[in-house]
């Protein structure tokens, strides 16, 4: 597990998650985040720009040229560090979910 202390915000989590399987450009990330969350999570342009800039500075994602020749859009891809951060966060959320299930089922000791 990587050495990270603070949980990710919802926007950061969805951006990393949407980049897990393949590089995507910003709008595609926003659309996939909305689809994965059932329309509940919407990442605005300002939030997206700030989050991607911050994550590039931290080394979690990097820019890469997209496909499409002259009309190619800027894409982002997950780095190894970003992948580790994402997997840590998923494990943390799983633990939280398990703890919640135990309490709800009345089996917490």
């Amino acid at each position: 597990m990587s050495d990270r202390q603070e949980p990710l915000t919802e926007s950061y989590f969805y951006i990393l998650l949407c980049l897990y399987d393949e590089p995507r450009h910003g709008y595609a990330v926003m659309q996939r985040a909305a689809a994965l969350s059932g329309g509940k999570v919407r990442i605005g342009s300002g939030t997206m720009y700030g989050a991607t800039g911050n994550m590039m500075r931290k080394g979690w994602i990097e820019e890469c040229p997209g496909d499409g020749g002259f009309t190619r859009r800027r894409e982002y891809r997950l780095t190894d560090a970003g992948r580790a951060i994402l997997l840590d966060e998923i494990e943390r959320l799983r633990q939280l979910s398990r703890a919640a299930e135990l309490v709800m089922e009345g089996d917490a000791t």
């Binding site: 926007s11 450009h25 709008y27 342009s45 300002g46 720009y49």
Partner: protein, 265 residues
């Protein structure tokens, strides 16, 4: 019917959400923004479209970052309109009533919105702080006016920071704020100070014929201020008398008569 107009309006970063409201209302009235400047804005008449505007503060962006910045916004349909004060950017998107209001927010979570607000530069008082320091060194009435103004500006700055902290990413109806008095107050302070420096009288005393020793002179002082005794030389080749310097501060009620003692050698 005119098709262009320019409005004189001072942009206040502390209430940028209220400025959004103003731009949106103007757009609904048919006035579409073409240029945004700190002190004035230009609009053109176009009733065929209503826009929703977005104001963003990003600090100074490199060429690469600015390109990426505009791409991210353009991907969600935001059209870049104008940039001012080097760090503020204005975008707009045509209003579609079938879409929820959330579609017109550029910051959709609190942490990113707070991060943006931390980049907003806010300061009114720095221009007057040097005057306050000057007043502490030289307690004259003119500098006192500047000093009091500096304290008031500092208070205004704190209020504006508090207001910025409470601002929301949605357009907010405009209201009057006390710190809007800052500019007229600054003009009044400068005018008053210049007047005080101008009307402050110099008191003269003719030393010719005075005997050596401790002497005194009386002046009717009209304004409370910090007075210093200065010596102006005689014309011609007459030897200059020695006068021990005396300073008098009159902060009591005015006008008043003050007697100043000095030693004449």
């Amino acid at each position: 019917m005119r098709t262009k107009k320019t409005t004189l309006h001072v942009f206040d970063p502390a209430t940028f959400d209220e400025e959004l409201f103003r731009l949106n209302v103007l757009s609904e009235e048919g006035w579409q923004l073409t240029e945004y400047h700190s002190l004035y804005q230009k609009f053109r008449r176009d009733d065929s479209v209503v826009y929703r505007y977005a104001l963003d503060c990003q600090g100074s962006l490199s060429v690469h970052d600015f390109r990426r910045y505009r791409e991210e916004y353009a991907a969600q349909g935001w059209e870049f309109v104008s940039q001012f004060r080097e760090c503020w950017y204005v975008f707009r998107k045509p209003l579609d009533l079938s879409l929820p209001e959330e579609e017109y927010l550029i910051y959709t979570d609190e942490p990113s919105f707070q991060a943006m607000k931390r980049t907003v530069p806010l300061s009114l008082s720095t221009a007057f702080l040097f005057s306050f320091v000057n007043f502490l060194l030289t307690p004259e009435l003119g500098w006192l006016i500047y000093g009091v103004t500096a304290i008031v500006m500092l208070a205004f700055d704190l209020m504006r920071r508090r207001r910025l902290k409470r601002s929301r990413p949605v357009p907010t109806p405009r209201r009057w704020h006390i710190w809007q008095l800052a500019f007229p107050l600054a003009v009044l302070a400068i005018a008053l100070s210049i007047l005080v420096f101008h009307v402050r009288a110099d008191y003269t005393l003719d030393l010719r014929g005075l005997q050596a020793g401790v002497q005194s002179a009386e002046f009717t002082v009209k304004l409370p201020d910090f007075y210093g005794l200065e010596f102006y030389p005689y014309p011609g080749d007459a030897p200059r008398p020695q006068i021990s310097p005396v300073q008098a501060i009159t902060w009591s009620k005015w006008p008043c008569v003050r007697k100043i003692y000095f030693t004449f050698r």
